[in-house]
Structure formats: C-alpha cells, structure tokens
C-alpha cells in the first residue's frame, strides 16, 4: 500500500499560505510562522479565512496534494484538484452502475453490510471491555438484531429496501450509542442524531469527525480516478459527494464514532471547550478544535491489518484502500466490492 503522508491543518483564521521553492510558507501579517516541505504532505486543509497564493495552488495541483478550504465550523467550501486525477474508462463504468438501480444496490449493500457489521462489533467490544458499566441485555439484543438485518441486506436487490434496512439498523445502533459514553456524562450524552445544526456536544463532535472523514474519502476516491459526486446509494444531488458518502457509511462507526468516543472517554476534551449559540446550536472553541485535529492526525498514523487485503497499513490509508478496492471491483478485477469489516 502507498505511504501515508501528513496533512497540514491551518486553523488560525488570519494566516496566508504561499509557495517558496519546494516549501509551503505560513504567514501572518508580514511574519513567517512556519515552513513545511511539500514532499511530506498529502493534504492541506484550511479552516477559516486563510488565503492561499495561486502559486501554491498550482504546486499542490501538480503534486496531487489535496488543498481544501473549510469554514471555521468545518463545513466544506472548496478544493483545488489537479488534472492528473481521473480515469475515463473507470468513471464511465461507475456512471453505468449508478444509472442501474439493481447494479447500484449490489455495490451499496456491501457498504451497508460494512456499516452494520462495524456497528455491531463496536457494541460487542464494549460489552466485552466494560461488562460492569453497560446494560448487557440491551446491547446483546441490539447486536443480535444487527446480525439479522445484515443477513437481509446481503440479499437485497432494491435500493429503497436497502435504505429502509439501513435506517432500521441505524435506529438500533443509535438507541444504545449513549451507553458507549463512559466518562463526563454530564457534558457528553447522546439522545439522537441531529446535524443541522448539532444541538449538543456529542453531535458537534460527530459532525466534525464526519466532515474530516468525508474529506479524506473524497480525496481517496479522486486519487484512484473515481468521481466522488456520483454515488450508488446516495442519489445525485448537485454539490453532494454521493459516492464519498456511500463508502463512508462503513467507516462512520469504526473510524469517526470510535474516535469521538475515545476523545470523551479518555478525557482529552471537556465540556468547557464547547459553546452554545443563541439558537441552541453547539460549536467547539478553537482550542478544542485543535485538540481534535491533532488527535485525528495521530489516529491516522496508528497501524492496523486490513481485513481483506491482509496487509499492514495505517488507519489513515483505510479510505484510500477502500476507494482502490471499489475501483478494482468496478473495473472487473473483483467479484464484489469488499467492505472494510472491522472487529
């Protein structure tokens, strides 16, 4: 598998990024804050109003360094992509599948199997590790029902039925998600998923982690030549990266949810790091965001063995490996798309 390089996150709003030889230079007013060699980077992600010089944009595009602009709250704004990404033959086949509900369903159901499988094993792991803290009966019940739903998903050939099963499984998982929060229960609780806007700390964290993950997923899909905007489960909608959302389904729990839970349970973040706006929406403060990004970066470096490829790689390459496997399935090398099944 390829090597995982670093991502540079720029969180200070009044910085300007420019190019100096083979380096990226971070400036504030006239003073230079930092300088990083481009060859160590695979992505640059800016939050806030940072400007970027056209020269640096060009340098990132030619080197396939993903340059993304986000709002301070982590909403995606824009990205710079070079020309070498893309694969006409692969994309045409992707579009053919996307236009065919039955073929789409056969790919999408594996992603949903991945999602449910990973959710199930998050719960199973919790029952094993924290027997005394967790309502075992409830957990085991949900876990068993997830297995049942998975078996049904395996046979599904219609997208609407698949969406229905996916929804049922999500309700089951969400119903016990709060049990997985073992620390700081006064500040961090989960009473349901809401995202526009997030109304509690946990939802704010989840939204932010999903944004980071979807960003990595988009880059990974484009790096292997797929079109991140044409999906199988998620329907086309202008500006929505449907395929990234599709593949992300199987990684949400295992990658983002577990990440958020460990931030809370290891007390890396605290309730004081969040503030509530007048309309009830919750945002994290700059320091907390920095802690989250740093932890996210560190988590990406952790090593795992890929369950299907059986190959050692860092967590950060999982989106890439799934994109690659999807591309190889679409081009006919693999009989099915192998989801990331993590135990």
């Amino acid at each position: 598998m390829k090597k995982l390089l670093n991502t540079l996150f720029v969180t200070m709003p009044d910085t300007y990024l420019s190019l100096d030889g083979e380096n990226i230079v971070v400036k504030q007013e006239e003073s230079i804050l930092a300088r990083y060699p481009l060859h160590n980077l695979e992505a640059v992600c800016t939050f806030g109003y940072s400007g970027v010089s056209p020269g640096l944009m060009g340098a990132c595009a030619t080197r396939n360094i993903d340059l993304t602009f986000m709002t301070r709250s982590g909403r995606f704004l824009a990205r710079v992509t070079g020309e070498s990404r893309g694969n006409v033959v692969l994309r045409k086949e992707q579009y053919r599948i996307s236009d065919d509900d039955r073929r789409s369903a056969r790919v999408a159901r594996n992603m949903i199997i991945g999602k449910i499988y990973n959710h199930k094993w998050i719960l199973e792991r919790a029952t094993r590790d924290h027997q005394l803290r967790i309502d075992m009966d409830r957990m085991k019940k949900v876990s068993a029902s997830l297995t049942e739903i998975m078996k049904q998903v395996r046979e599904v050939e219609e997208l609407d039925i698949l969406r229905g099963l996916e929804g049922t499984a999500a309700v089951q998982y969400n119903s016990v998600f709060d049990e997985l929060i073992l620390q700081q229960k006064d500040d961090f609780y989960f009473h349901g998923r809401h995202k526009r806007p997030p109304l509690d700390n946990v939802n704010a964290l989840l939204s932010f982690a999903y944004t980071l993950l979807s960003n990595d997923m988009k880059s990974a899909l484009e790096a292997v030549g797929l079109d991140a905007y044409v999906g199988f489960l998620h329907r086309d909608r202008p500006g929505r990266e449907s395929l990234a959302l599709d593949v992300m389904e199987e990684l949400r729990g295992v990658y983002a949810d577990r990440f958020v839970l460990s931030l809370i349970n290891k007390k890396l973040i605290h309730g004081t790091g969040f503030y509530r706006k007048e309309n009830g929406s919750v945002m994290m403060d700059d320091d907390t965001r920095k802690i989250v990004l740093k932890a996210w970066q560190e988590r990406k470096q952790d090593k795992i063995i890929h369950p299907y490829l059986n190959e050692k790689m860092s967590w950060g390459l999982v989106p890439y490996s799934q994109a690659l496997l999807l591309a190889r399935h679409i081009r006919g090398d693999l009989d099915e798309y192998p989801p990331f099944l993590w135990k």
């Binding site: 598998m1 390829k2 070498s84 893309g86 694969n87 006409v88 033959v89 692969l90 594996n110 199997i113 499988y117 297995t147 998975m150 078996k151 395996r154 292997v224 030549g225 369950p307 299907y308 490829l309 190959e311 690659l324 496997l325 190889r328 399935h329 081009r331 006919g332 090398d333 693999l334 009989d335 099915e336 798309y337 192998p338 989801p339 099944l341 135990k343």
Partner: protein, 219 residues
C-alpha cells in the same frame, strides 16, 4: 499505403510497459493512471538531458538530433526518440538540407545498467521501424545508452524482432479498442512497478469477496 489514422495511434513508449506487464500498460494507457516512484523520477531526470529538441549537433560524419518525434502509419504508433544519430553512409538516404546520404540509428537512454529482460528492446525496435518508414530506408541496428555504466550498447535488429513488435502491437490494440484492463500474474516484477499501489496485484490472487463477506457475517 493503408494504415491507421493519427488519432488512433498508440504511444510507442507503451510497448515497453506492455512487455513489462500487460496490466501496467493498460493502467497507464487505458486508465490514465500514473504514479511516480524513485525509478520514474530518475528516468525523468535522465531524459532531461536527452530531451532538448533544439540541440542539433554536427560532429564530422555524424549529425546528432535529440527528442525527435517519430511515427509509423502502418503500425499506428507515435513517440519520441531520445537521440537519433545520422551517420554519413553511401548506402543511406538523402536528408533535407544536408549534403550526402545518411543512415539513422536511434539511441535510447535508459536508467541503470543493461537488463536481462527485453522489454526495453522492443521499444528500440519500434523506433527503428518508425524511422525506416518515415525515411524510407533500412536500419540494421540501434543503441542503448545506460546511465549507470555511462556506456552505449549496440543492438542488432532482426526480422523476428520486428515480428514480435507487430504481434505486441496487435495485442495492445485489441485491449485498447475494448478498453479492457487485463488481469496479469503477480510476480517479482511487481516490486519494481511504479503502479503497484494502484494495481494491487495481490487482489488477483485473493479468495473471492463473496466468501470473505459470507464468512465474516457468519461469525
């Protein structure tokens, strides 16, 4: 003369990829995938020297031309010769703007040292065939210049070499027209392939995804 249209030409450099690995060729030329590694970057660096189309040297009986674009309508290929040496020869052909008659010999720049496999060889043969068609002459040999030994090696081009190139091209065209990326056998050569991270040769030897999923769900 019958032949291919320009827009259907394949890239001459692809013959080398194709002989190295059919799948590598398809990934580059059909799927437009490319990834640099140490070897390709060394190759680029080496070619910077050869790739200077404006330099034209005359040394006694020799005229040295760099980065010469060539094609063959009959074979349907196009490419660039790193260096072509035109040597004054009574059995040669006249060149526009030059006195006397000349025979052309392509010189292909290669990183490293002479290799045992012949994936490079076919590329040189194809260059010879292009030059023969464009200049209407017969060429008996070409050269490799190896970066590591800083030395050139003469290569005699035989009729069976030409036949092999024709056969490769026919096979390439077959894949190209169907947009088909063949599965190939993974082997030791995968280690030196710049596309191994895109190709993922291991997956071709893996058990089926169906059985992988079935066995996991059943846990």
């Amino acid at each position: 003369m019958q032949g291919y249209n320009e827009e259907d030409y394949l890239l001459l450099s692809g013959i080398q990829h194709f002989n190295f690995c059919r799948r590598q060729w398809a990934l580059i030329h059909i799927e437009q995938q490319w990834e640099e590694n140490v070897r390709t970057i060394e190759g680029n660096h080496l070619h910077r020297k050869a790739d200077q189309p404006m330099i034209r040297e005359k040394r006694g009986d020799k005229l040295v031309v760099r980065a010469l674009p060539v094609h063959s309508r009959e074979l349907g290929i196009t490419g660039i010769c790193d260096v072509v040496e035109f040597v004054r020869d009574p059995l040669g052909v006249p060149l526009a703007g030059e006195e006397g008659t000349y025979l052309p010999f392509p010189v292909e720049y290669k990183r490293g040292k002479p290799k045992r496999n012949d994936s490079d060889h076919a590329q040189l043969v194809a260059q010879v065939m292009c030059l023969e068609e464009m200049l209407v002459c017969e060429i008996s040999k070409g050269y490799f210049y190896y970066d590591e030994i800083k030395h050139r090696v003469e290569v005699i081009i035989t009729a069976s070499d030409r036949e092999r190139v024709r056969a490769s091209l026919q096979e390439m065209r077959h894949y190209f027209e169907r947009n088909h990326t063949p599965k190939a056998k993974a082997g030791p050569h995968c280690q030196s392939c710049s596309l191994q991270h895109i190709c993922v040769p291991e997956i071709l030897n893996k058990k089926s995804v169906s059985s992988f999923i079935e066995s996991r769900i059943a846990e």
